[in-house]
């Protein structure tokens, strides 16, 4: 068998790539009608939320402000963020700098996960660690 090229942006092991492949895992792949699917309650929010940002007054104002600040003489290459971004792309470390829409979606997803977790926890062995409410989200990061 051929050697598998190094995984880009850690989609397999690390959780960082998960957001990027989420819609593939959830929306693509084989479906066999004879089998049932786990309820995805909570997850659907993702798509709705991600579209909301399209064209709002807030966006317009933000763009207007940004244009006022832009130094046209400097040219686009002077943007200090750019060289950084190019270097970081393969590590998907650029997420923090990407548009607000994206991080908004990411938050929504994690909210959905939390919600799903809460809903589905009765009778699960996980309910014990979850009882320590205040640290539950951090614990979640560590565990998963």
């Amino acid at each position: 068998m051929t050697v598998v090229p190094a995984q880009q942006s850690g989609g397999g092991g690390g959780s960082s790539g998960l957001y990027d492949v989420l819609e593939l895992v959830l929306d693509r792949g084989l479906v066999i009608d004879a089998f049932v699917r786990v309820s995805l309650v909570g997850i659907e929010i993702l798509k709705i939320d991600v579209r909301v940002v399209v064209a709002s007054v807030d966006t317009y104002l933000r763009f207007a402000e940004a244009c006022n600040r832009l130094d046209l003489e400097a040219g686009p290459r002077k943007d200090p963020g750019l060289p950084d971004l190019v270097g970081e792309m393969t590590e998907s470390g650029a997420r923090g700098k990407s548009k607000g829409a994206l991080s908004g979606a990411a938050e929504t997803i994690s909210d959905a996960f939390k919600q799903a977790r809460t809903e589905g926890s009765e009778g699960e062995t996980e309910s014990r660690p979850r009882a320590r409410k205040s640290t539950s989200s951090r614990r979640k990061e560590e565990q998963e």
């Binding site: 895992v25 991600v50 402000e65 943007d79």
Partner: protein, 257 residues
Amino acid sequence: MSTYVYGIAAGSHPGLPEGMGGVGDPPRPVRILRAGDLAAVVSEAPDGLRPKRKELLAHQNVLSEAGAAGCVLPMRFGSVAPDDDSITGVLAERAEHYQERLRALDNRVEYNVKANHVEEAVLHQVMAESPDIRGLAEANRQAGGGSYDDKIRLGEMVAAAVKAKEADDGAAVQRALESAADDMSVGPESTGWLANVSFLVDRDEAESFLAAVEQVRKDMPHLEVRVNGPLPPYSFVEPGPAEPARTVASGTDTGAG
């Protein structure tokens, strides 16, 4: 006891991850069910399984592991069969179809590419290309930022120009990578990115595909381009229109409001 299904592979697949931890807490061990020349990668389905991050990762990890050694048709997350027999039954019943898909996808992997604008860079372009926008921005600046209505007017114009650029740049990314791949599948649109496209790539051609991505990054420095892969061929398991890409792309300008 119901059974969770991760994917379907050829019976001759050399490295199915039997015994690996799958979904659930504690992780349910992965088992292999066989029927004829096919094999299904399964585990026990835990009660109350939900689409949590941990479970999605487990699904993805089992498929990555299985896919590393040979072709696997990935199931969508969350497929649960009533029991093992119903899975072997399906394998037997649709053997021909799965065999065909396995042959078509043999030695191929999926790379998902997402791109979005680096905001400041794209605003620069928009201003540079449109005298109207430039003029309005300058007027606003001289008026100490401009009135609320002036700002909205400028912002609207900029947003429209950016949107047009998103469509153009999305198409350009697609064109640039299309030729380096065997097939292409356009993912759902959203405002989070201007391109979301999966490419089916021969493992032996993966390097040249990634080189093509590098080239896109160089040629379009105002884009942030992210690549995920190699992935199991999630977007290519169903036959059907081999290239839905063009029709989908041409519908990009629908949600104008």
